[in-house]
């Protein structure tokens, strides 16, 4: 009995010890905002370059959740983010029209590219018309890796198939392969299967596992990739940090933010082009 009592005494001490190890440092008093954004802004390294400058100037920490555009919009709709930074203008305008966002500000742009195996089985290298290039991929039934995840890039890809008057859904599982995952994971799959894929330029340039993939098609105007930033509407979600969120947006579309975006380089190349400053 005394033995048991002694053991019981050690238990609370042990618990207290573990609590001290695990519980310390989680005080959530820092000033921060949550931004729902796309994998392309994070995977490209842009945000890691730009956000510390904002935090240094304002003392506001920016917490980024990197998702596909469709998923990011849903997170913002649920009120789980203060600011939305994504790249599918029609969805963004819908988000504002539905009352979930206050206003859309254009931030920056770059472009999409079509990449694929260097052997180029569909023969699309240096084609100027991206829709025709996709049509040729479909004709030759060359493997194509699609995001298939309702992301901004996926929506862009579907609109290009539409422009080519092809519905690839019927070929899903054969030459048309929907990975249902992020840009990087899809490029990994394309690299593994030697398939073609549509990618945003920034993720592609920074991607570390290209294997046999090379860039084939770029420069078609329809491959334009604009990013917008929106404050989540406090009328829908009263807990939204409107003041700090708006401060972030003002900074991002203002001179300091736009300069920071312009200054970001991947392998010496500009990756995003600011919308609001004239160079």
């Amino acid at each position: 009995m005394r033995q048991t009592l002694k053991h019981l005494m050690t238990l609370p001490t042990l618990l207290a010890g573990i609590m001290m190890i695990t519980g310390s440092g989680w005080a959530d008093e820092d000033r921060y905002i949550t931004v729902a954004s796309t994998t392309s802004t994070e995977n490209s390294g842009l945000l890691a370059e730009v956000l510390p400058k904002f935090t240094a100037e304002t003392g506001i920490e920016v917490r980024v959740i990197a998702l596909g555009t469709g998923q990011a919009i849903r997170v913002a709709r649920n009120g789980d983010a203060d600011v939305l930074l994504v790249h599918h203008t029609p969805s963004e305008e819908q988000f504002v029209a539905d009352g979930f966002g206050v206003k859309r500000y254009p931030v920056m742009h770059n472009d999409f590219v079509i990449v694929g195996p260097s052997s180029d089985p569909a023969g699309i290298n240096e084609m100027a018309n991206a829709a025709l290039a996709l049509a040729r991929i479909a004709e030759t039934k060359a493997a194509f890796a699609s995001r298939g995840d309702d992301s901004g890039t996926h929506k862009k890809e579907l609109s290009m198939w539409q422009a080519a008057e092809i519905n690839p859904a019927g070929a899903s599982g054969t030459w048309y392969r929907e990975t249902g995952s992020g840009m990087g994971a899809t490029l990994n799959a394309a690299s593994g299967m030697n398939a073609y894929a549509l990618s945003d330029r920034a993720t592609w340039v920074r991607f570390g596992n290209k294997g046999d993939l090379v860039l084939h098609v770029e420069g078609d105007r329809r491959l334009f990739n604009p990013y917008g930033v929106i404050l989540v509407n406090a009328e829908k979600h009263p807990h939204v940090k409107s003041d700090d969120g708006q401060k972030f947006i003002d900074w991002l579309v203002g001179e300091p933010g736009q300069n920071a975006i312009a200054a970001y380089r991947i392998q010496g190349q500009p990756a995003f082009f600011p919308d609001m400053i004239v160079e």
Binding site: N43, I65, L187, N188, S191, G208
Partner: protein
Amino acid sequence: MADFQTALLTAIELVIRLDPDLMEIVWLSLRISLLAVLFAALIGLPLGAAIALWRFPGRRVLIVLLNAAMGLPPVVVGLVVYLLLSRAGPLGHAGLLFTPTAMVIAQCILVIPIIAALTRQTVTDLHEEYDEYLRSIGCGALRSISTLLWDGRFRLLTAILAGFGRAIAEVGAVLIVGGNIQHVTRVMTTTIALETSKGNLALALGLGLILITLAVAVNATATAVSDTARRHHG
């Protein structure tokens, strides 16, 4: 093969340099998973022992469900916790989504069935040995539970370590409820997933090696402590 070599070198380099980002991520992984296992043990141990000792209607069905729940899909648990903690969900007002606390909750849910089911089996076995003795000293149900849990503590360590293994290794749930936010909710497994998606396969694999080493270290420590205690108490 080159990837494996680079991975090993990357891992060694990161550890030798005591890379501050890596240290932060390792520390957060450990804190979250240890805390989740602690809470899961506080619930799972008595729960498993109670199911082992008490006879009640539906007990056999409960045991089957409990054993099956050891294989709960992390993504589904993550999704459920996400929906509960989202601002649009029933517990949204607490603002817990995308915090380490949310990750502890999700991992705890994954670990409870593992600890409870393994405890149930261990205590059932022990009870067969002890039944007569417990009866002879007129031990009630509650006292029997605490006695059997205490006497089975060295065997139950395995149940707790199995739970820890699940917690530290899973990525599906913590990615959804944590959001993989740098310096806030980024842990070992979500970093590995992120680096894989960036195509930095060697770095991802290097981090994987560190994660496995970490799990081995935790298990070795627990076993060593248990062995020492066993020698002391005979």
